[in-house]
């Protein structure tokens, strides 16, 4: 049930169970500590309602989202290879319909978008998945913006992304499932019994192959991009943003669901095996729309929908 809903934080504890033993033990400990909220299967339920009667309708999770279906495919990459059309491995684009190798933030702002809400004209892209030579596009494409990952007092001072910020998550040249820089996880919709993995997993018939990817949420406060497209951003350390990247911004969680089940034979990404999954984000939210959502949903730790209102 949790896995089909728009409650992505519920996925985290489940995914932790597949991590190395020490992390699994930690997850169990946390599940025990918060035993009253444990969901069937041991996953901690993060969406407990506030005890105050007047807050009964407000879910205390810092979240808003955009649903951005597949838009188009191009061998272009406006972050890594700007101005060089046809220079990249194949990408599948979501959000703005105009993204190509020449795209800058001014092209994105006000452009036509596949997103709900349509005001989100950001561009999101991933390496195209192929079964043999046939591209396979995801049919579930949710981009969550979350406060989780840092302490509550830090969530309260999360800032909107600056317009034009570019973030790359995951490692397109990861070398294997033991490569710590490979951060995306593959799992099966409705089938938590299939252990998530950094590589493709074999999903039962009727299920869908799903990819979770969390973007770094600490910004250096200065640069919209960096030479390696990563070092202006950082993941938090012990629930806080490190000194070199002191500005907390929302954590973007990309959840893609592909119409794929059964054997993973012949399945690949344009960047290689499943563990090379990565995602690119080019922020082109209108500043007022993003700021409103960060204030009303993230900072006050309230779960919102695509409209940026408490849901």
């Amino acid at each position: 049930m949790l896995r089909t809903s728009a409650h992505p934080p519920a996925e985290s504890p489940r995914r932790r169970r597949a991590w190395p033993t020490a992390l699994a033990a930690l997850g169990l400990l946390l599940a025990t500590l918060y035993g009253g909220a444990a969901a069937p299967g041991g996953a901690t339920k993060p969406t407990e309602l506030d005890a105050a009667p007047q807050a009964a309708q407000v879910v205390r999770v810092a979240e808003f989202l955009a649903e951005c279906p597949y838009s188009h495919r191009l061998p272009d990459d406006p972050i890594v290879l700007p101005g060089l059309p046809g220079a990249s491995h194949m990408h599948s684009f979501f959000g703005s319909r105009v993204t190509d190798a020449h795209t800058d933030v001014t092209d994105l702002l006000g452009s036509s978008s596949t997103c709900s809400p349509a005001v989100d004209t950001s561009s999101y892209w991933v390496p195209t998945m192929y079964r043999g030579d046939q591209p396979v596009e995801p049919t579930g494409t949710t981009f969550y913006y979350l406060g989780e990952g840092v302490r509550d007092d830090i969530i309260q001072r999360i800032r909107p992304f600056p317009q034009g910020l570019r973030i790359v998550a995951g490692n397109a040249k990861a070398t294997g499932v033991d490569d710590p820089t490979s951060v995306a996880r593959w799992s099966c919709l409705h089938h938590g019994e299939v252990n998530p993995s950094k590589d493709f997993v074999n999903c039962p018939a009727g299920s869908m192959l799903e990819s979770y990817l969390d973007f770094p949420q600490c910004w250096n406060g200065r640069d919209l991009d960096s030479p390696d497209h990563k070092s202006h951003m950082s993941y938090p350390v012990n629930g806080a943003c490190p000194a070199g990247h002191p500005v907390p911004v929302p954590k973007l969680r990309q959840v893609l669901r592909y119409p794929v089940s059964g054997s993973t034979q012949g399945l690949r990404l344009a960047s290689g095996p499943g563990y090379t999954m990565h995602g690119d984000f080019f922020n082109a939210w209108p500043q007022n729309e993003l700021a409103r959502r960060v204030t009303d949903c993230i900072n006050v730790i309230v779960k919102c929908g695509a409209d940026g209102r408490p849901s």
Partner: protein, 193 residues
């Protein structure tokens, strides 16, 4: 602060503002509230190179490295004297060009990184095609070699043309122009052997 509710939001925000004003690093500056965007600099130049300079240089290094590897299979596998000579001269050119391209990155203080390793890239052979080249001999190898290098030089030519109008510095513009010119010449010579 876990008891923040919709009805209490104004006071909660007030508290956040106060905390920010007091000294939280992420709230530094004159910004009045937590949700005000922070101005940021566009990352236009890194050690004198633009993002496109870096992207083109890294891509050409990846393409040239692979092309040179394929070309160096020719002496033992090709059945054509003319093709062997062409491959030998072209491999030498790639060796020199790679030195120059790597100098571009190191002069800018950037690591010699190949962000395209293992990817299915335009202008490059994929893992399966590479295995076929490594296993082939004689006319089959020659056919595969020609196909791979036509793709390589065609892509190099397209990239050189894009660099002319892209946001690139003088050094990369010169390098790309030379590369595009060599690509046209190499293709012409390949078709004659």
């Amino acid at each position: 602060m876990r008891d923040v509710t919709a009805s209490r939001r104004p006071s909660a925000l007030g508290a956040v503002l106060l905390v920010c004003a007091l000294a939280v690093p992420g709230c530094a500056g004159s910004s009045p509230g937590p949700s005000r965007p922070i101005p940021a600099s566009a990352a236009a130049s890194h050690g004198g190179l633009t993002t496109t300079d870096i992207g083109w240089t890294q891509l050409l290094i990846a393409m040239d490295d692979q092309a040179r590897y394929v070309l160096r299979l020719a002496p033992r596998r090709s059945g054509s004297r003319g093709l062997k000579d062409w491959a030998s001269g072209t491999a030498d050119h790639h060796r020199a060009e790679l030195v120059a391209l790597r100098a571009l990155l190191s002069d800018a203080g950037l690591p010699d990184d190949n962000p395209h390793k293992g990817h299915d890239m335009p202008g490059m052979v994929n893992a399966e095609e590479l295995r076929a080249l490594e296993a082939a001999r004689g006319p089959r190898f020659d056919r595969l070699l020609r196909s791979a290098l036509v793709e390589h030089f065609t892509q190099a030519g397209k990239l050189a043309a894009a660099v002319r109008t892209a946001d690139t510095g003088a050094r990369v513009k010169r390098a790309a122009a030379a590369n595009g010119s060599y690509a046209r010449d190499a293709l012409r010579r390949l078709r004659s052997v």
